[in-house]
C-alpha cells in the first residue's frame, strides 16, 4: 500500500507537525517537549495506543466544553490543575532526591548506583511528564550526567587504573541508556547548555499552559464532525451551533480538516464521506473536483479496516463511479495530472495556478494504487460471498466496470508516459498492465472479446492505446500476447514471471499445448518458483494444472499424467490451487496461517474444477498403471515402479471391498473401469469411463470420449497380452484384432513395439500372421531372486565407487577403466535402455521437474 492510504502513526505525526504552526512563539519549548514525548512513545506501539486513547478521551470530553471564553471550561481546567499540583510536588521532591543520589554517585565513581538511580529517575520523569512538561531539573541532571560520563570515559582511556568489574558494567549500561535517552531531549539539553541560568528560571512560567494549544487544534477540524447528523431541510450546524456552509471556497478547508482527522479514533468515516459527497457536488473547478474525489476515494477505502472484511457494496460502487469520474475529469482537463511524486499544495485559499514554466498542475495521488485497491476489494468481497447464490453473480457483474476502470487507468498512464519530463515510473504502468492481464488470462477468448469490446465502446473514438492499439488487437490471443510481451520487455522479477504464467495459462486453456509447454520449460520457472511469493506459486500451480488438462484434451495421456502428478498426487489440490482450505488434522497451522490462507483463496469464478481434475488424473493414471501392473505381474521387483501412488492406494482400497455396488462418483467409475480393463474387458471399461458425467464440462466431449475409447482399446490389448501371454503358445493377430476391434495392422504395430522394447518375449510369424510366444522365459522364483540379487550387488559396487570418488575428489583415477567395463556389462538391455532413455528424456520435457519445493512453500506461506 502506498502512502496515500492510512497509516496510523504517520497521520498523527503529520497533524502534530502541522499543529506546530498554530502555536505562539513562547510556547515553542512546551511544544517541543510534547513532540519529543510523542516520539518516544512511538517506539512502543502499545504505549502509543494508550497515550493516544487517553488523549482522545480528553478530547472527547473537552469537545463539549469547547469555548475559549466560556467560564466553566476554565473552571474545570482549574480544578484539574489543583488536583495535579499536590501530587506533582511530591513527585518533584522524589525527583530531586534521586538527582542528588546520582550526583553523589557520580562524584565517587560508583557508576553502578548511578545507573540504578538513573533508571529510577526516568521512571519518575515519565510519570511527571504524563501530567505536564519535562521538569527542568531533570534536563539539568541528564545534561550534567552526560558531561560527567564523557569525562569519565576520557579518563578511562588515559589512566591505566581500571574500574572494578561491577562499576564498569554499570558505567557501560549507563552510557548506553544515557545516549539513547538524551537523544529525545536533545533540544532542551542544548538550550540548557547555552544558557544555564535563563533556562532554569523560565521554568515556572511556562507550566500552566499545556491545554491551550489543543483548543486551537479542535477548532480546525470541528466542521467535519457535525455533518454526520445532517438532514434535509435543516441547516448544517457545527458543534458550536454555527451554520456550516459548503461553498466552493471552503472546500479545501474542509478537506484539510478531514485529512487531518484520518486514522484517528472517534472520527466518523461515514459522516466524513457524506461531507465530501456534498463537497463534490459544490465543487466547480477541476482542481477542486480532483482533490475532493481523491480524498473521498481514499476515505472509502479506509472503511474496510482489517484484512478480512470487504468494504461495503454501496461504497465500492460509489468508489468505482468516482474513479470513473475522476478519470473523465482528468481526460477533459489535461493540464491537471495526478502523480505520485507531486508536492502537496499547502495554501488552502488559492488553488495552484500554472506557472510560466510549468506545463502541468501536479496533484499528489496514485491512480494505480486506487485501481489496485478497487480490484482487491472486489476480490475480497467475492471471497466472502457464497458462490452459489445470485448475489455472487450480481457482484461478478461489477467486474466489467472494474475492468473498464483498469483499462482507462492504463490509458491514462500511457498518456502520462508520453510526457517524459514527468518521469512516471515504469513500475506503475507495469502494475496496471498486470492487473489488466490478470482479469483476462483465465477467461475463454469469447468472454475476453466481449469485455474488450465494451471497454472500447466507452472511450471516445479518438483515444487509442499505445500498448494495445485498437486496430491491431482484435482477438483475445493477440491481446494476451501483446500485454505479456510488453511486460516481458519492460518488467522483471515477479511481474515478468506472472506475465509468463498468465500467458501459458491462456495458451493451455485454448488448446495450444506445445506452445504452452515449451514456453513453460523455456522460462525455467520450475527452478526459481520456490523463491517467489505464494500468490505467484499458486498461479504457477494453476498454470501447471491447466497445461496438464490441455495435454489430456490433446490425447497425450502420458504427458498429462506426468504434469498433473505433482499437484494431484499430493492430495492437497485444494490448498495448492487456493480453492478451499484443507481441514488440518493435527492443528499444524496456527490461526494466523489459516487466516492468511483464507485470504489467498481465489474467487469461485476463477476456480479450476477439482472434480474434473481428479477425473482426468485418475483416468490417465489408469491408462498407464493397468498395463504396468499386468506387466510386472509376479516378478520380485514388483514394487519398483509406481507411477501414481494415489491411484495405487485407491485401487487397493477398492479391491479390499467385499461388496462393490454400482459406481456412484467419479472415483468409483474409474476404479471399476480399471478393474474391468485389468481383466481384459475393455468394453466394460469404456462404458464405465463414458458414464462419468463430468466429461460434459469439457469442450468437445465426444472427441474426448472417442480418444479415451481408442486409448482403452490399445491399453486393453497390451494388458491382455501381458496377462495371458504365459498361457498361450501362439496367438493369431486376426483374433486379437477381432477381440479388441482394432485393425490387424494396428495390432501388429502394438505387438512389434512391445517386442522391440523387450516387454514381451515373442516373435511375429509373418506367414501365418500369428504371435509366437517364446518358451522358458518364465523364471523360477530362485532365478528371479538371483537376478535381483545380482542387480543389487552391482549397484552397491557402483555406489561404493561413487562415494570413494567423491571423497577423494576424483583424484584416484583407478576407476576409469572399471567404469567402462561396468557399462559393458549393462549393455544387455540396450533396447530397453533406449526406451527408458526416451522416457526419462520426455519426463524432463513433460515437466515432472516443474514443481519441486514450490508446493510446500505455497502451502506454508
Amino acid at each position: 500500500m502506498s502512502r496515500f492510504f492510512r497509516s496510523g502513526e504517520s497521520s498523527s505525526e503529520d497533524s502534530s507537525s502541522e499543529e506546530e504552526e498554530l502555536y505562539s512563539e513562547e510556547e515553542k519549548d512546551e511544544e517541543q517537549q510534547e513532540d519529543s514525548d510523542e516520539d518516544q512513545s512511538e517506539e512502543d506501539d502499545e504505549e502509543e495506543e494508550d497515550a493516544e486513547s487517553s488523549e482522545e478521551e480528553k478530547r472527547g470530553a473537552s469537545k463539549f466544553l469547547k469555548d475559549v471564553d466560556s467560564s466553566d471550561s476554565e473552571d474545570s481546567d482549574e480544578e484539574e490543575r489543583g488536583q495535579v499540583k499536590s501530587a506533582k510536588d511530591k513527585r518533584y521532591g522524589e525527583l530531586s532526591q534521586t538527582i542528588k543520589a546520582i550526583e553523589n554517585g557520580s562524584k565517587i565513581g560508583d557508576w553502578n548506583t548511578v545507573a540504578t538511580e538513573f533508571d529510577k529517575l526516568n521512571r519518575q520523569v515519565s510519570k511527571i511528564k504524563d501530567s505536564g512538561s519535562t521538569p527542568k531539573i531533570y534536563i539539568e541532571c541528564i545534561s550534567d550526567l552526560e558531561a560527567k560520563v564523557l569525562e569519565a570515559s576520557e579518563k578511562q582511556k588515559v589512566t591505566p587504573k581500571k574500574m572494578n568489574a561491577q562499576a564498569a558494567r554499570g558505567f557501560n549500561t549507563l552510557k548506553q541508556r544515557l545516549k539513547k535517552n538524551n537523544k529525545d531531549y536533545q533540544d532542551l539539553i542544548t538550550s540548557y547548555r547555552e544558557d544555564k541560568l535563563g533556562f532554569m528560571e523560565s521554568d515556572e512560567e511556562e507550566e500552566p499552559l499545556p491545554v491551550k494549544p489543543r483548543k486551537i487544534r479542535f477548532d480546525t477540524f470541528e466542521p467535519a464532525q457535525p455533518a454526520a447528523d445532517d438532514d434535509e431541510g435543516f441547516e448544517t450546524v457545527d458543534g458550536k451551533g454555527r451554520v456550516v456552509q459548503f461553498t466552493p471556497e471552503s472546500i479545501f478547508k474542509h478537506l484539510r480538516a478531514i485529512m487531518e482527522s484520518r486514522g484517528k479514533k472517534n472520527t466518523d468515516p461515514f459522516g466524513q464521506i457524506k461531507v465530501m459527497e456534498k463537497l463534490n457536488s459544490v465543487a466547480v473547478t477541476p482542481y477542486q473536483r480532483i482533490r475532493v474525489i481523491l480524498t473521498m476515494v481514499s476515505a472509502r477505502f479506509d472503511l474496510s479496516a482489517g484484512v478480512s472484511s470487504a468494504m461495503p457494496l454501496e461504497h465500492w460502487k460509489a468508489a468505482e463511479q468516482e474513479l470513473s469520474t475522476l478519470l473523465t475529469v482528468l481526460e477533459e482537463s489535461k493540464e491537471y495530472i495526478v502523480i505520485e511524486n507531486a508536492e502537496d499544495w499547502e495554501d488552502d485559499d488559492k488553488p495552484p495556478t500554472l506557472g510560466p514554466n510549468d506545463k502541468y498542475i501536479k496533484i499528489p495521488g496514485s491512480i494505480v494504487s486506487y485501481v489496485e485497491r478497487l480490484d482487491d476489494e472486489l476480490t475480497r468481497s467475492l471471497q466472502h460471498i457464497d458462490p452459489h447464490t445470485s448475489e455472487y453473480i450480481d457482484r461478478l457483474q461489477d467486474e466489467g466496470s472494474l475492468y473498464n476502470i483498469v483499462f482507462r487507468g492504463l490509458l491514462y498512464y500511457e498518456t502520462l508516459r508520453k510526457e517524459t519530463s514527468l518521469e512516471i515510473p515504469q513500475d506503475s504502468l507495469n502494475r496496471i498492465v498486470m492487473r489488466r492481464l490478470e482479469h483476462v488470462y483465465f477467461k475463454p477468448a469469447q468472454v475476453v472479446n466481449i469485455l474488450e469490446g465494451n471497454c472500447w465502446k466507452r472511450v471516445p473514438d479518438s483515444v487509442d492505446s499505445l500498448i494495445t492499439p485498437r486496430e491491431s488487437i482484435t482477438e483475445a490471443s493477440d491481446l494476451i500476447s501483446t500485454l505479456c510481451n510488453y511486460l516481458f520487455n519492460n518488467s522483471e522479477g515477479i511481474i515478468k514471471a506472472r506475465a509468463m504464467l498468465c500467458r501459458n495459462y491462456f495458451l493451455a486453456l485454448h488448446d495450444e499445448y506445445y506452445l504452452a509447454r515449451d514456453m513453460m520449460l523455456m522460462s525455467h520457472l520450475q527452478e526459481q518458483i520456490a523463491q517467489f511469493d505464494v500468490a505467484t506459486q499458486i498461479l504457477y500451480n494453476r498454470t501447471l494444472v491447466q497445461v496438464g488438462l490441455c495435454a489430456f484434451r490433446k490425447g497425450l495421456v502420458y504427458e498429462a499424467q506426468n504434469t498433473l502428478q505433482e499437484i494431484c498426487g499430493s492430495g492437497r489440490q485444494k490448498e495448492l490451487l487456493a480453492q478451499g482450505v484443507q481441514i488440518q488434522r493435527y492443528n499444524q497451522v496456527t490461526p494466523e496461517q489459516e487466516r492468511l490462507e483464507r485470504q489467498r483463496q481465489l474467487p469461485f469464478h476463477m476456480h479450476i474444477n477439482l472434480e474434473l481434475l481428479e477425473c482426468v488424473y485418475l483416468t490417465c493414471s489408469m491408462l498407464l498403471e493397468i498395463p504396468l501392473l499386468a506387466q510386472t505381474g509376479s516378478s520380485p521387483d514388483i514394487k519398483k515402479r509406481v507411477i501414481s501412488k494415489t491411484y495405487r492406494r485407491m485401487l487397493e482400497y477398492h479391491e479390499r471391498q467385499i461388496f462393490t455396488g454400482p459406481p456412484e462418483n467419479t472415483r468409483d467409475h474409474v476404479m471399476q473401469a480399471s478393474k474391468a480393463l485389468a481383466a481384459g474387458e475393455w468394453k466394460k471399461a469404456i462404458q464405465f469411463i463414458h458414464a462419468i458425467k463430468i466429461w460434459d464440462l469439457m469442450p468437445q466431449t465426444d472427441d474426448i470420449k472417442a480418444m479415451l475409447s481408442k486409448q482403452i482399446q490399445e491399453e486393453g490389448l497390451r494388458t491382455y497380452l501381458f496377462t495371458y501371454a504365459p498361457f498361450y503358445d501362439t496367438l493369431a493377430v486376426e483374433t486379437l484384432g477381432a477381440m479388441f476391434e482394432l485393425e490387424p495392422r494396428k495390432v501388429s504395430a502394438v505387438i512389434s513395439k512391445m517386442i522391440s522394447h523387450e516387454e514381451l518375449a515373442a516373435a511375429l510369424d509373418q506367414v501365418t500372421s500369428t504371435v509366437i510366444f517364446r518358451k522358458g522365459v518364465e523364471l523360477s522364483r530362485l532365478q528371479g531372486l538371483s537376478l535381483t540379487l545380482a542387480d543389487k550387488a552391482s549397484s552397491l559396487i557402483e555406489t561404493n565407487e561413487r562415494t570413494l570418488e567423491q571423497r577423494t575428489q576424483g583424484s584416484s583415477n583407478a576407476f576409469e577403466r572399471q567404469g567402462g567395463r561396468g557399462r559393458g556389462g549393462g549393455q544387455r538391455g540396450g533396447q530397453r535402455g533406449g526406451r527408458g532413455g526416451a522416457r526419462t528424456g520426455q519426463r524432463q520435457a513433460g515437466g515432472t521437474t516443474f514443481t519441486g519445493g514450490a508446493l510446500g512453500n505455497a502451502v506454508r506461506g
Binding site: Y514, D518, M522, R745, A749, I751, S752, K753, I755, S756, A761, A763, L764, D765, Q766, V767, T768, I772, R774, K775, G776, V777, L779, Q783, S786, L787, A790, D791, A793, S794, I797, N800, E801, L804, T808, S812, A814, F815, Q818, R821, G822, G825, R828, G830, G834, G837, A838, G841, Q842, A845
Partner: protein, 442 residues
C-alpha cells in the same frame, strides 16, 4: 560478417529447405545452394524457373564486389552481349579500392612475412602489438586496415587471400568484436575454398568463442549457435573426417536445444547424417547406437513442429513400428534427398543404410518372414531381396535360415539364458571390489 540475404527463392518441392536455410547463411555461402537449385531446374528443363534462379543469383551478388561475375549474370539475365558501362566503372572502382587497401596493408603484411619479426612474436597479443609498434611503427589503424582488407577480399570472392589476411589480423588484433567477426570470416573462407580441415579448426574456435564471450547473453548465443549449425552443414556432408566431430557438437545439449528451439528442420540433416554414417567401419558402434536413440527421441519430441519424409521414416520405424509406412516414407525420402543441396550426394548411402535398419528391426521382431514381403518392404525385387538377406545374414551373423521351398526366412531368437544373465551382471564385480579395497587402503 552477418549473414543476411533476402534473395528471392524459387521453391522446388514442398520439402525444400533452402528458404529456411537462407536467413542463417552468408551471401557467399548461399551461392552454391542457388547454383544447385538452378542445376536442378535445368535438368527439369523448366526455363522460367531457371531464369528465376538466375535473377535470384544476380540479386544475391549485386551487393558484393565480384563485378565481373555479376556483369556476366546481368548479361545472361537480359540477353546482352556486353555488360553496360556501369559495371566497368564499378569494376574500376573495386580495383582501385583493392590497390588502396593493398598499399595500406603492405607494410604490415611484409612485416609478418619477415622471419625475423615472426621469431620475435610471442603468444601474448598485447605484447606483440607493443613490440611491433616500438620496433616497426605499426599502428592500430594498420591492423584494422587488415580487417577491412580481408572483408573486401572476401566480398570480391578472393577467399584464399581473404583467409590469409584475416589470419594475420587475428594474430595482432586485440579488439574482441572484430576478432570474433574475423573468425566467422575465416570460417566462411575456409568453407568456400573447401579447406575442410582448417574449417573444422575454425569451427571449434567459434564454438569456444560462443561459449566464453557470450555467456551472459543467451539470445546472442542462440543466434550464433544457429548460424554455426547452418554453416557446419557444409563440412558435415562433404568431409568424411569432420562428421564425427560435428555430429558430436550437434548432439551436445546446448546445440540440440538450439536446434529444437530455433531450427527444427536441421533434424533432417542430423537424421540423414546419423543413418548414413551407419556401418562405417571407423565408427564406434556404441556412439552410433546412442546417437540413433537420441535422434529417435528428438524426432519424437519435435514431431509436432517439423516433419518431412526423413523424420517420418524414423518415426514410422522406431516409434510406431509401422514397416509399411516406413517403406513409403523411404521412397519419398529418397526423392527429397536428391533434391537437397547437402544430401544429394548421400542419397544412395541413406537408402542403403535405411534398408539395413528396416531389416534389422524387422528380423528382430519376426520369427518367420516371407522373402517376397520383406523385399517389398525394402523396395527391392524378390531376387534382389534374397541376395540382400543372404548378405545380411552373412554380415551381421544373424541366426537365420532361408527356407527356399516356402520362400521364407526363419529367424531363430535364442532366449538369453538366465544363468548367462546372472554371469553377465556379476562379471567384474570381484575385480572392481578389489580395486576399491586397494584404493581405500592406500
Amino acid at each position: 560478417m552477418a549473414s543476411e540475404s533476402s534473395a528471392e527463392q524459387a521453391s522446388g518441392s514442398s520439402y525444400d529447405l533452402i528458404p529456411k536455410l537462407l536467413p542463417n547463411l552468408d551471401a557467399h555461402l548461399i551461392f552454391p545452394l542457388l547454383e544447385f537449385a538452378a542445376g536442378l531446374y535445368e535438368e527439369e528443363g523448366d526455363d522460367a524457373k531457371v531464369q528465376e534462379a538466375l535473377k535470384a543469383k544476380y540479386e544475391l551478388l549485386k551487393g558484393s564486389n565480384m563485378t565481373d561475375y555479376v556483369a556476366g549474370l546481368y548479361c545472361d539475365l537480359h540477353g546482352l552481349d556486353n555488360p553496360p558501362a556501369e559495371f566497368t566503372k564499378q569494376r574500376d572502382q573495386v580495383l582501385a579500392k583493392m590497390a588502396q587497401y593493398d598499399s595500406e596493408t603492405a607494410r604490415i603484411t611484409d612485416l609478418l612475412a619477415d622471419d625475423e619479426v615472426i621469431s620475435n612474436l610471442r603468444s601474448d597479443k598485447v605484447a606483440n602489438l607493443e613490440f611491433l609498434k616500438k620496433e616497426h611503427g605499426v599502428t592500430i589503424e594498420m591492423v584494422n586496415a587488415l580487417f577491412d582488407f580481408g572483408n573486401f577480399q572476401y566480398s570480391c570472392g578472393n577467399y584464399g587471400a581473404a583467409a590469409e589476411t584475416l589470419y594475420r589480423f587475428r594474430v595482432l588484433s586485440t579488439d574482441n568484436d572484430k576478432v570474433a567477426a574475423a573468425n566467422w570470416g575465416k570460417f566462411a573462407c575456409e568453407l568456400l575454398t573447401t579447406n575442410w580441415d582448417t574449417a573444422i579448426e575454425e569451427l571449434t574456435k567459434i564454438k569456444e568463442q560462443i561459449d566464453t564471450k557470450l555467456f551472459n547473453n543467451p539470445l546472442a548465443q542462440l543466434k550464433h549457435r544457429t548460424w554455426l549449425i547452418h554453416w557446419a552443414l557444409f563440412p558435415l556432408f562433404n568431409h568424411e573426417a569432420a562428421r564425427d566431430t560435428i555430429l558430436e557438437t550437434f548432439f551436445s545439449p546446448a546445440y540440440i536445444n538450439t536446434i529444437q528451439t530455433n531450427c527444427p528442420y536441421i533434424l533432417r540433416y542430423i537424421v540423414a547424417a546419423v543413418i548414413t554414417s551407419r556401418g562405417k567401419p571407423t565408427r564406434n558402434t556404441g556412439t552410433q547406437q546412442k546417437q540413433l536413440k537420441d535422434v529417435v527421441r528428438i524426432v519424437r519430441q519435435e514431431a509436432y513442429e517439423y516433419s518431412d519424409p526423413i523424420t517420418e521414416f524414423v518415426k514410422a520405424l522406431y516409434i510406431d513400428f509401422d514397416f509399411e509406412e516406413a517403406q513409403k516414407q523411404l521412397t519419398l525420402a529418397d526423392e527429397v534427398l536428391r533434391n537437397d543441396f547437402f544430401l544429394s550426394g548421400s542419397a544412395d548411402a541413406f537408402v542403403e543404410a535405411a534398408r539395413h535398419l528396416i531389416s534389422e528391426s524387422y528380423c528382430k521382431i519376426h520369427h518367420r518372414i516371407v522373402i517376397q514381403d520383406l523385399s517389398a518392404r525394402l523396395g527391392l525385387t524378390e531376387e534382389e531381396g534374397e541376395k540382400w538377406i543372404v548378405n545380411l545374414i552373412k554380415d551381421t551373423r544373424v541366426d537365420a535360415k532361408i527356407d527356399y521351398k516356402e520362400g521364407t526366412v526363419v529367424m531363430n531368437h535364442p532366449p538369453s539364458s538366465v544363468y548367462q544373465q546372472v554371469i553377465e551382471r556379476t562379471k567384474g564385480g570381484f575385480f572392481r571390489t578389489q580395486v576399491l579395497t586397494a584404493a581405500v587402503t592406500k
